[in-house]
Amino acid sequence: MSAVSHDPPQRRPSALAGWRPYLRAGLVRFVMTTLAGLILAAIVHIVTVLAIPALSRHDAAHAYRELGNDGHAEPVPWPGNARGLPVLREADPNVVTAICNYDLSAGPMRIAARTGSLPLGLTLHRRGGGVLYAITDRAAIRGTLEFLVMTEAQRDERIAADEEGETSRELRIVSDTEQGLIVARVLQRLPSDRADAEALATGVACGLAN
């Protein structure tokens, strides 16, 4: 006779069984904290990207804040310039670029450029990024390109001061920041155009409007 019993062996409780609720709770906790971390990461990502333009001290508006403050545009610095200003990145070597700073805290600014035979473009770069306005010399009237830069409040004041029933002929550009850059670019088609291009670019006048 066999002494082997055919009764199923009694299953002994696993050592992990007691830990299962703890493991499940730990897993849920890990997933929840990871989810919270990912949500926080998304918020940090968005806030960082949006804050960079406002916080940056290496952008063009900060780097060139001393250029063109005396009523006319100044050329962008060359590598190794005496003032130690950073060089414009991704610049076209065939283009002469000059810059005027604008600060509308004292009132609207008047920008006037004389046009010539070389293509000239003027752009308004707000502090914090974004080109507010761009115009080329094709819009010039009798060889002059002229416009005013102002805040919305200054524009409202100017409209209120306009003569009743008369249409102003001024081109008024509203800037949503008080500071920024006016950039003049002149394309030199041939190396011999360099002097003409520089004269056109640095001939851009930028002063307080009357």
């Binding site: 926080l40 940090v44 990207v49 333009p53 290496h58 990145r89 065939n94 914090g128 974004g130």
Partner: protein
């Protein structure tokens, strides 16, 4: 345990959030990118409607992008067959350029800076090139001298071709421009 959870959440949130933001604005973003043939442009980078990623990228360096009404910059990092531009190869640029008051085409490194080569010829303007009988574009880019309109390349390594169009109507409708309206970039041979 709660402190450990909080520390984990903060570390994950700050690390991943700052790291991904840094990565996203280290270069030009894919948002707003327009590809036409081998050329890539970001037409909204010079407008009021610039997207936040491009705005952050531009703010991290001394950039003054072309205004939307002023012109358009197109960048090629690959040839028409999709192969990366390499200084060991010769390339032929041919075809047409869009209607514009003036254009320039130049060779730069990945940061948009011209290479320091023995011959100081980094770009051409539309007035400088010699045109064939059909009036089209015929430029050869290679590291060894070539007859005609020759743009010197570095002897090896990656480079970019930058086409800048000034006062052009396509700056406002770049996405609708056909590849046939832009210069073709064809690899001739490689060393």
């Amino acid at each position: 345990m709660r402190i450990l959870d909080l520390a984990y959440i903060l570390a994950l949130g700050a690390g991943l959030g700052l790291g991904s933001a840094h990565w996203a604005v280290a270069g030009r973003s894919a948002i707003g990118r327009v590809e036409v043939g081998a050329w890539t442009a970001w037409p909204r980078s010079g407008s009021r409607e610039v997207d936040p990623y491009m705005r952050a990228y531009l703010a991290r360096g001394v950039h003054l992008p072309l205004g939307s009404g002023e012109g358009l910059e197109l960048i090629a990092e690959r040839d028409d067959a999709g192969q990366a531009l390499d200084g060991r190869c010769r390339y032929r640029l041919s075809g047409a350029t869009p209607t514009t008051r003036g254009w320039t085409i130049g060779i730069t490194d990945g940061d948009g800076l011209p290479f320091r080569l023995p011959l100081e010829r980094t770009s051409f303007t539309d007035s400088e090139i010699v045109r064939p009988e059909d009036g089209g574009l015929a430029i050869i880019a290679s590291s060894t001298p070539e007859a005609g309109n020759w743009l010197p390349l570095p002897s090896s390594g990656r480079f970019q071709i930058r086409l800048r169009l000034y006062d052009t109507p396509i700056s406002s409708q770049t996405g609708e421009t056909r590849a046939s309206n832009l210069p073709r970039i064809m690899r001739v041979d490689c060393r």
